[in-house]
């Protein structure tokens, strides 16, 4: 053990030397492709109040300030669902959406993409969401990457549905097979913990549609923690929430929020910045806390 650990100390020097040579390489030419950054925020649950987050009124605003202060500003920002906390009062739902929209207007980056979570959309099949934020599924392109937003929440049965699956298939058919594709969605497309509603009933059909494309990556939310999973060559990355963390998949009988720790407020909460390298379809993920550490 000692020998190995001492080797580690010495090796740190090699790491520093490597830094210097990397700088030299960047100065010599820089990448021939156009990399870009985007930020993923998720599960802000505006309107939630309760012991799991006594600071719920401020968490979102703090996170926005942190995003605005990022050294590398993203070219756009995505919110992967559960913008608001569920309420069965349609008036209250709209009030929460209006407030949420006003708060996120403080983001310096103005290109912001929204999608619903089941808290926003499953009680009215996305009606209120559409009034405030537009379509619940759509696609867009950014510097060679094709982004597809998949709605697996407006159907209260946690399905994408045949109509949307057909749209997905047709949307993808227009792309060359080797296009870099990013899917943005709320629930996991694979069966993470079905009894906790951590699955999409017809997610396997979506994965089948994506499978012929060699460069597909999925970013999602819903499970309030960072998680990485592969289905074949397709990587699935879930983001932390900005309200309360949930337990590790299947680690306890019930999916109850992890308690707020006053000695470490905001522990387990955060957002991520993704550096997209379109030519190699690589996505480098950097996780951030609610406030700058």
């Amino acid at each position: 053990m000692k020998l190995a650990a001492l080797g580690g100390g010495a090796v740190y020097f090699a790491g520093l030397a490597g830094c210097a040579s990397a700088d030299a390489k960047t100065m010599a030419g820089g990448p021939a492709y156009d990399d870009f950054y985007f930020v993923q925020l998720s599960d802000t649950h505006w309107g939630f109040s309760g012991a799991p987050n006594p600071d719920a009124k401020n968490t979102l605003r703090k996170a926005i300030a942190t995003v605005n202060a990022l050294e590398k500003q993203p070219e756009f920002i995505v919110f992967t669902g559960d913008l608001t906390h569920t309420t069965d009062d349609p008036g209250e739902r709209r009030r929460r959406m209006k407030e949420f929209k006003e708060i996120v207007a403080d983001l310096k980056v103005k290109q912001v993409r929204f999608m619903p979570g089941e808290h926003d959309a499953s009680l009215d099949r996305g009606a209120a969401f559409k009034e405030f934020f537009g379509d619940t599924n759509y696609s867009f392109d950014h510097k060679g990457v094709h982004f597809i937003v998949v709605d697996n929440v407006s159907d209260p049965g946690a399905r994408i549905g045949d109509e949307q699956l057909a749209w997905m298939k047709a949307d993808l058919a227009k792309r060359p097979k080797d296009s870099p594709i990013v899917v943005l969605t709320h629930r996991p497309l694979f069966d993470l913990v079905p009894k906790w509603d951590w699955a999409t009933r017809d997610g396997a059909q979506a994965i089948d549609i994506l499978m012929p494309y060699p460069k597909v990556t999925v970013f999602y939310g819903h499970i309030h923690q960072e998680h990485h999973h592969m289905t074949g060559h397709i990587a699935h990355h879930s983001a932390k929430s900005l309200i309360f963390p949930l337990p590790a998949p299947g680690s306890q009988p019930n999916r109850t929020p992890l308690p707020w720790d006053p000695s470490q407020p905001n522990r387990g909460l955060g957002f991520r910045e993704v550096e997209a390298e379109p030519d190699v379809a690589q996505y480098k993920i950097q996780e951030y806390g609610v406030t700058k550490a």
Binding site: M1, K2, L3, A4, A5, L6, G7, G8, G9, A10, V11, Y12, F13, A14, G15, G18, C19, S21, A22, Q225, E226, H227, H228, H229, M230, A235, H236, A248, P249, S251, Q282, Y283, K284, I285, Q286, E287, Y288, G289, A293
Partner: protein
């Protein structure tokens, strides 16, 4: 002695007392975190998207048999142990520029938990498997 040398000495001193250094990591928590954050690409049994962690502790970086490494890892001369794993997980690209792992564990406690788990679960298979440190 300049500050940098003092720092290296401090690193070496910390590395020399492994019991003290990883006392705060919880391997049981680390096991769950490993499943959620690492296991998509890594396994304790075989190479996947990332190299296997079988016998990781004490292994030279870039040497798992059958795995296709970046040039950066192959030439890094890093030996995996508590200190190096923690630095690597903090920000891989800063530690070994040119590497290809795109996930990091910025939370210090989570990092300590994962490293504590690896120190148990990815021990060298036999005592003879701990490499010496050639070329230093």
């Amino acid at each position: 002695m300049n500050t940098f040398h003092a720092y290296l000495l401090a690193v070496a001193a910390m590395a020399a007392s492994p019991l003290l250094a990883h006392a705060d990591g919880d391997p049981a928590v680390g096991k769950g975190l490993y499943a959620a954050r690492c296991a998509a690409c890594h396994s304790l049994e075989y190479n996947g998207v990332g190299p296997t962690h079988k016998g990781l502790i004490g292994r030279h970086a870039g040497t798992a048999q059958g795995y296709s490494y970046s040039e950066a890892l192959k030439h890094s001369n890093v030996v995996w142990g508590e200190e190096t794993l923690s630095r690597w997980l903090t920000e891989p690209e800063k530690f070994i520029p040119g590497q290809k792992m795109f996930i990091s564990i910025p939370d210090a406690r989570e990092r300590a938990d994962i490293v504590a788990y690896l120190l148990q679960a990815a021990r060298p298979q036999t005592a003879a498997a701990i490499p010496t440190n050639p070329g230093q």
